[in-house]
Symmetry: C2
Subunit: 389 residues, 2 copies
């Protein structure tokens, strides 16, 4: 795939020309190649060898004194730490945020290696997307506390939209967010609310890869009579950490009232935990009371609009994941077709059973199918990089 990537990035998209822009002035074709080399190497060493493992050893729940824990294979921890240490979580961000100011096209190309090697082992996409939303819609303090820790890979991120009774119908979410005390508007981390509700299909909703998890949660603030506004107009967005933090981002030692209710078992994408989370049921009692503490992001009623920042980024990243599943399928098919002997070519006298069999890659219809796979996978990759450029 590297040859294809180099062709797309340089011969077609001419990414080196981007270094003429001030933002990317310190980059060159060489630094781009170094990033791709690094991604290719980490994906080969830390992702690909464990692709099968994370499919057979799916996340499991172990009861513990501080609530249910999710246990992941050791390889998943090592893959996460290698990815975080690579700087790819913040690759396109400003230098002052710990980023590389890499063109997004090159970041996307680098991430392609990880998706192809093992699509579900990492949760980097959600963490970057979560932090990027906070850069766009959070307060300066929310950016410094939450986004910075995510870009550094110390904390990871989730997106909490669906509920058991409301799948893609977000107008029907029932999670409530109520002001937490008379001084709720004076919290340095943002207006403070207590959330109560259930969130379904939350990827990476519970695990121990990072010391904290940053949930971005859609909820409704009740009106004066305590009723929720129907439709999407009533939706607001909150940042809800798994463990509470102070205004400088230090863990206070107190667990927020976010509890794992169960894991969803999926046919694929089994390297990441997929969870049902209970917010505010009283499993933990921060500040002596039930209710998950969350800080408003953006304005009340603007939650869905803000969340679309992350949703759109996730859609693009998932598109790359799908393209790379196709690419991995093509590569596996090609390797198999070159090894598997079956049948013989038709000659003027028909087939000669005394001749050895040929590898199936020599069958015209197998060639056609392989070329179709290659065209779909490389075409999808090209589309992703073109949009990213």
């Amino acid at each position: 795939m590297r040859t294809t990537l180099d062709f797309l990035l340089h011969d077609w998209l001419r990414v080196a020309e981007l270094t003429a822009r001030p933002r990317h002035a310190e980059h060159s074709a060489e630094t781009f190649a170094q990033v791709l080399d690094m991604c290719e190497r980490i994906a080969r060493e830390k992702y690909a060898p464990f692709n099968r493992l994370v499919d057979t050893e799916e996340p499991r729940v172990v009861a513990g004194p501080e609530g249910d824990r999710v246990v992941l294979p050791q390889a998943t921890h090592e893959a996460w730490h290698a990815y975080a240490a690579s700087g790819m979580l913040a690759a396109a961000q400003d230098y002052e945020l710990g980023g590389m100011q890499l063109p997004y096209t090159v970041e996307a190309a680098g991430n392609a290696f990880f998706a192809k090697a093992s699509v579900s082992i990492g949760a980097g996409m959600l963490t970057s997307g979560n932090a990027n939303l906070l850069l766009a819609h959070g307060t300066p303090r929310q950016r410094e506390v939450f986004a910075a820790a995510e870009f550094a890979g110390r904390w990871s991120g989730t997106m909490c939209l669906s509920e058991p009774q409301a799948g893609s119908s977000l107008s029907d979410i029932a999670t409530r967010a109520e002001p937490d005390g008379a001084d709720f508007e004076r919290d340095p981390l943002g207006p403070r609310y207590r959330l109560r509700g259930h969130k379904m299909w939350i990827s990476a909703g519970e695990h121990e890869l990072t010391e904290n998890i940053v949930h971005l949660v859609l909820a409704k603030i009740p009106g004066p009579e305590g009723r929720l506004v129907a439709g999407t107009r009533g939706i607001s967005l909150f940042v809800v950490p798994k463990k509470l933090v102070d205004a400088d981002g230090r863990l206070t030692g107190e667990r927020n009232d976010v509890a794992l209710a169960g894991l969803n078992h999926k046919c694929g994408w089994r390297g990441t935990s997929n969870t049902l989370l209970n917010f505010g049921e009283g499993r933990f009692r921060p500040g002596g009371a039930a209710g998950a503490i969350g800080y408003l992001v953006g304005s009340p009623g603007e939650g869905l609009r803000c969340m679309f920042h992350m949703m759109n980024e996730a859609r693009i990243a998932i598109g790359m994941c799908a393209a790379m599943l196709g690419m991995a399928g093509f590569e596996a098919s090609l390797e198999y077709a070159r090894q598997r002997p079956q049948g013989r070519p038709l000659g003027p006298q028909g087939k000669d059973a005394a001749q050895p069999q040929v590898p199936i890659v020599e069958h015209a219809d197998v060639k056609r199918m392989l070329l179709a796979q290659k065209a779909y996978a490389e075409g999808a990759l090209a589309l992703e990089l073109y949009c990213a450029r």
Copy 2:
């Protein structure tokens, strides 16, 4: 599905008219209905409740003093015994063979219930097909010994074609069959050979559902110089019992040299064991020597032609299985679509979020998809029954 079956069988295919033929003279619309009632009931009680179980508890190997055993869930044993006791293994056969002389269309309709309830729990299709091949190509003694025990459900059957180095390329099979002793042509069960080779993807190749297993095996008889004839012309067919039997079909107590080399793990169809079998490697030594004992069926070199009798029957039965997987999918989809609320209809003022959600079966595009499922599944069922008529 019963309403659909009754419509297809009676209003469209007019199966009751078949009772005018002498072969089916003792039947009537009532006896046909009784057979369908029975199949529907056994499928509901013995198959459907365990469809999930046989998918999660796939066959496993346990070492034993008489070689590796395959352990299946208790439910699989009970499903087999209920199916065998129903008489469906021989439903279309002559009364004197223990059959019902049922029209094949009605037999196929009855079997549809089992395939829909749990497609992989049973191995009846292979057992009937194996016995039917012996009726067409076996000697009278082979029919009395092997086919009769299969129709009664005491023994089960397999078809052994593929080899690890030769998938669908049967010209390349390397299993050898050599005459077993100077008197090899005088065995009452048929000309006796010793087989040596490996057979891959053998469904129900090892299990303890029945007291014996009847393997129908393709192999090549070497020419005078010990070389195998290239191509399919050199293929002969042998009946190779797992346990040796005498001329009256009684177990001799001696195990034939057929050994389980391993189980194949499949994505689906996990209720039946799928095996790699070693023939004649010396794991067992019948008559004091290595080599699996097999009896020629049909003439030397006619093996593939004979085997096509069973292959064609299996193809038709697999077609019904595929149609019934589609039908089961349709029924599950319909049930879910009637229960799952999501979204609201568009009115003149758009959607009214204050109204309750509607079940998704009311969405026009969900209706369209359900109707497409129904059309495919019922159309495939109709095609099967039409061909069977």
